[in-house]
Amino acid sequence: MKTFFAKSWVRRTIALALLTAVWEAAARTGLLNPLFFPAPSRVAAVAVELAIDGGIWVHLQATFSAAVLGLILGLALGILLGFLAALVPVLAELLEPVMILLNAIPRVIMAPLFVIWLGIDLSSKVALAVVLVAVLVFFAVYSGIKNVDRKLVERVVTLGGGRWVLVREVYIPSVTAQVMGSLKVAVGFAFTGAVVGEFVASTRGLGYLLQFAQSTYNAALSFALILLIMLFVLVLFSLAEALEHRLLRWRHR
């Protein structure tokens, strides 16, 4: 029994179940106003209704496509720019101030601008997700290369390795470790970009549905949608973790 409770996932599940039970009881006894805090059973019922109804899939697909596309493109752009800035000093002079500025502001404020430029379809949501992810990944790659272990660089140089060998044998593996560290944050950023983009202007997506739930004072629908987004982020998190485990197996052995 003691070893059963020693497992962290058991303790977490029990804590979650307890919280849900207390919330349910509080909502049913009137301690919580169901208009603002609907009972978990009500939230679950709305979620099931959404799934059975089938209308949710088009919204899920829109958000998921924008987030995943934004994540992939953001990763590619961040890695490319990070490498270029680290290896070509002139580019670093140009890119670093822009990235620092972009990092300093809440980048979601660019959402209206993307709608003006790209319209209310998928591309404006993808663009926002790309900007959110790319800046994060840029710094992970840039600082990863700048702070690479000099001893390893000198080791490869004394073995006769040139620039390309250094990139392949030292920089890429070092940077992979850095990028993997930021990948989970990047997943969250990609969904933030997609959902906020949909908030600002769209005709579908979970952000659009959330906006609708807010305007109709439907807290149960809001909770159900938040739950759904959490679920999808969790799925992507576990994929990111599996990828990290595979790429950084030298750390986990």
Partner: protein, 252 residues
Amino acid sequence: MLKVRNVSLAYGAEPVLENLDLDIATGAFVSLVGPSGSGKTSVLRAVTGLQTPLNGSVELDVDKCDVGFLFQDDALLPWRTARQNVALGLRIRGIAGDKALAEADSWLARLGLAGLEQRYPSQLSGGQRKRVAIAQVLALKPKLLLMDEPFASLDAIVRARITQELVDWVEREHMTVLLVTHDLEEALSTSDVVYLLSQGPRARIRSHYEVPIPRPRTLIETRKHPAFGALLDRLWCDLADEVNVAGAEAAQ
């Protein structure tokens, strides 16, 4: 094999080492000892081209790719297995992947690491990692071997064993060696000539000591040789003088 002419080396404005002249004949085992901050490591870095001298020149009778450098830290790539680390230098020299790996395995076996080829550096002990680093360098069959306190981090027994193995190897292959070390006994027991550097900044060669002990050598027997004790005493006294003089100058 190696001629260092009037070389000065600096990290900041003031040279850490000034006007160094050093001649190392083919097949010689030479050590460089001296107080901390006398620029010993910088000399090795200048020979490999990792550091540019302020003035002077470094002349090598061999190609740069015939120079092996054994670092103080093993500096193995943590994301590569032992065999991949050893094969890296071979692959850089143009040997195909499979052949390089096979050769790496044979070098690891020669250094007593058979069965550990697939392990990552984090799964090896300090002594094993050091052996992998040695295999990585020896696999390239260097004609000139530079070593920067390569065994400093190892415990006494492992250190003695690996040093003996390396000395055997060097004698068998008639390699030329320049060893930088803080350990005077290690310097005398392995080398033909030991150079003592003065305290930096602006360090110079203070004196040198020929070691008249015949080869092949075993490190334990070498320490029992009649010339060894007297040489060690002289070296200790000269080094202590150097450190004391530098300390007194600093106090003024």
